[in-house]
């Protein structure tokens, strides 16, 4: 299970952090090159692959790779 | 009535002949709004098109009409609309869009007296600049001017062909007299129809707006043929990417204008008579030329060395032809036209002061009478 965050595309809107049902995303502590705080994964083991983060990301900056590599 | 080409001799109204010309050219969609004096074009196509497997749509207005026409053209069909001067006003945004997207389409303007609502049922030639320069910024179009129902057929067919070759909105600039009169129209056994040029390379090798070297015009796939066409009204590069740079703007605008302007000699169509020893020339277009003809013939009978030129292609304006003709002897050009004097400016510009140019404007509703033109020829002589 892995969550990829594209810091070049992420505009730091925080929508994925807010709406993750398991609250596994938190804001990064360091600024990206774009000057925003992208999300970072806090508790990957609690991810249920619901993909709400993908569904809601307006910048196509997050991708969920399941254990089956789906 | 399910044949596209109704070969034979007919008595047709100009507007009806225009409709037949479109059908002969392969027009599959017509979308138009009722407007005097062009309504009859719509009415005839509202039943003829279905009979030949095409579609007629009555637009909710002129904008609806031309957007549907342009859409159908981008979907692979040949398409046309017809209106009058005040309808062309409403279509200007779409005309500019067709110009920048290089969409082939035919727009018939059966001119009425104006400005504004004017006199719907009477003639004028007031839109000669509107069709050329009416939309915002710079582009080129082609405009053909019929003088009879026969030419309404012939030139509408020609307009479709030119529109496909040059990928520009092409105008039939008729006037109410030509649109509403009835005359003999001969529809031949065979006509020459230009097919749209499609790309000859597969999608991965196709650059959407790169020109073919033999025509200076790009090939045009339709939506749904796998070419992933990026069609937009924004200034764009060869690949269809929008751009705000000067270089891209310059390249695009120059290409859109030059593809027509540089081919002016190929596009020039002029009817000429009595020109060999002409000292005075009467230069006219559209239904005015019918009166000019009679006046010139009568003046010739009186021994006056007068020549006759009738512009059939109005845009691109035939500068090179006029420059050549003027250097061969005439000392005066009379330009009768039914407006305040518009094409006379183009003539003045083209002849560059080498001959006297005399404007004979009549600002709408009434056609020049042959004796009016004849009397002027006598005065000029």
């Amino acid at each position: 299970m892995k969550i990829y965050i594209n810091e070049e595309f992420c505009s730091g809107c925080g929508i994925c952090i807010e709406f993750c049902p398991k609250k596994i995303l938190i804001p990064s502590s360091s600024l990206s090159k774009r000057g925003v705080f992208p999300p970072m994964v806090n508790k990957i083991e609690e991810c249920t692959e619901c993909r709400i983060c993908e569904l809601y990301c307006p910048d196509f900056a997050i991708a969920v790779e399941g254990d089956n590599h789906e | 009535m399910n044949k596209r080409l109704l070969s034979g001799i007919h008595l047709l109204q100009g507007d009806e002949a225009c409709a037949e010309g479109a059908i002969a050219a392969g027009c599959n969609l017509f979308a138009g709004y009722p407007i005097t004096p062009a309504t009859e074009v719509s009415e005839r196509l509202s039943w003829r098109l279905f009979d030949v497997g095409g579609i007629f749509v009555q637009g909710a207005d002129e904008l609806d009409s031309l957007t549907i026409v342009i859409g159908a053209a981008c979907g692979g069909w040949k398409a046309m609309t017809a209106t009058s001067g005040n309808g062309i006003c409403l279509m200007q945004e779409c005309i500019g869009y067709a110009a920048i997207t290089e969409t082939p389409c035919v727009i018939v303007d059966v001119q009425r007296a104006g400005p504004g609502t004017g006199v719907a049922t009477k003639t004028m030639q007031g839109d000669v600049y509107q069709v050329r320069y009416g939309s915002n910024a710079d582009y080129s179009i082609i405009a053909l001017v019929p003088d009879s129902p026969q030419e309404m057929f012939d030139l509408t067919l020609e307009a479709f062909n030119l529109s496909e070759i040059y990928r520009v909105p092409t105008f039939i600039l008729a006037d109410e007299i030509v649109g509403h009169m009835r005359e003999k129209v001969v529809i031949p056994e065979k006509v020459s129809v230009v097919k749209r040029r499609k790309p000859r390379v597969p999608p991965k090798d196709f650059v959407p707006f790169k020109v073919n070297s033999d025509t200076d015009v790009p090939s045009m796939p339709a939506f749904g043929e796998g070419y992933r066409m990026p069609v937009s009204g924004l200034t764009h590069t060869e690949t269809g990417s929008p751009s705000t740079s000067y270089e891209v703007q310059k390249a695009l605008v120059e290409r859109l204008c030059n593809k027509v302007e540089k081919k002016v000699d190929d596009l020039t169509r002029i009817e000429a008579a009595f020109m060999e020893d002409a000292q005075i020339v009467v230069l006219s277009y559209g239904s005015t030329a019918r009166s000019a003809r009679r006046a010139v013939i009568r003046a010739r009978k009186d021994g006056i060395k007068v020549g006759y030129l009738r512009l059939i292609t109005l845009w691109p304006f035939p500068d090179p032809y006029l420059k050549r003709v003027v250097s061969e002897g005439p000392r005066a050009v009379i330009v009768p036209e039914m407006n305040v004097g518009k094409m006379v400016r183009e003539v003045e510009r083209a002849v560059g002061g080498k001959v006297e140019v005399i404007s004979f404007p009549k600002p709408g509703v009434e056609l020049h009478r042959p004796d009016e033109i004849y009397n002027l020829i006598r005065r000029v002589r």
Binding site: V36, L55, C57, A61, A63 | C74, P230
Partner: protein
């Protein structure tokens, strides 16, 4: 790095990284929902045309990797009608903004709905004209602040779904950007429906509308949508006072009647039979 699934259909040689919409804007969300609908229906992307007009929503089509038709402000439905009549095999999806569809595009909307033209109209309603700086539109609520209603807006807004339904649309639905799954389902239904499908999405424009009306950023606006979303079945039993400021969501119309292109083609067939 694994890419977001939307990017499989994305044109990267266009403005922005990856696109030009603001931080928190809902348009990217609707873009992906449209992709999901196309994928789940297993449509051939080469037979799907995206049509757009002007403004932020108008730009959606320019990022789609297939055929796109970026047309004039307010007029996508006219152009789309022409394409679809010439090639009925195509799936034609029009994305329009609120001002685009109901202001300058008002007549195109009511005529296309009346004709029941087989198109999918996805309307992103963010209550203003975003790209030009946040001026009011025909859906801006009374009292709202925009660049051209700085004392509080005095005009009455449209209910776009009611408008589309009255004009004859055969599928009408409304969601907010929060109900993304329902939106995907509605887009699929709209694509499959042979008729005019109208799907309205209340969406966040944090930069202009959210900021000026002190609703907040993308997150805060989505929370505002969530808190004020009411399904139409529930709204039926509520008073006008209780429904003030709420977004009434659901499918309002789902019926069948012969669409425009099919009716026109019927004439061709009839005439063929008569002319034989």
């Amino acid at each position: 790095m694994r890419q977001h699934p939307a990017l499989r259909y994305f044109r990267f040689d266009r403005p922005g990284t990856p696109h030009l919409w603001c931080e928190g804007c809902g348009i990217g969300q609707v873009w992906y929902c449209t992709i999901r609908a196309i994928e789940e229906l297993e449509l051939d992307p080469d037979k799907v045309l995206w049509v757009g007009g002007s403004g932020c929503t108008g730009r959606m089509c320019t990022y789609w990797s297939g055929d796109y038709f970026h047309t004039l402000h307010g007029r996508p439905l006219g152009f789309a009608t022409g394409v679809k009549l010439a090639n009925p095999e195509l799936t034609v999806i029009c994305h329009m903004g609120d001002g685009e569809s109901a202001g300058i595009g008002g007549n195109h909307l009511i005529q296309t709905a009346r004709r029941n033209m087989d198109l999918v109209a996805i309307i992103i309603n963010n209550f203003n004209y975003g790209m030009t700086g946040g001026q009011f539109s025909p859906t801006t609520p009374r009292g709202a602040f925009t660049m051209t209603s700085q004392f509080g807006h005095i005009e009455y807004p449209f209910d776009l779904c009611e408008l589309a339904a009255t004009c004859g649309a055969t599928y009408v639905a409304r969601w907010t950007s929060v109900q993304a799954r329902q939106l995907i389902r509605s887009i699929k239904k709209g694509i499959q429906k042979k008729g005019f499908s109208f799907i309205e999405i209340m969406s966040q424009c944090p930069t202009q509308y959210g900021r000026r009306n002190r609703i907040g950023n993308g997150v805060q606006m989505m929370k505002w949508f969530k808190e004020n979303s009411i399904r139409k079945e529930k709204a039926a039993g509520m008073s006008e006072e209780e429904l003030k400021g709420k977004f009434i969501l659901g499918e309002f119309v789902d019926e069948n009647k012969l669409e425009f292109g099919a009716s026109l083609r019927e004439i061709i067939e009839k005439r063929k039979a008569q002319n034989v």
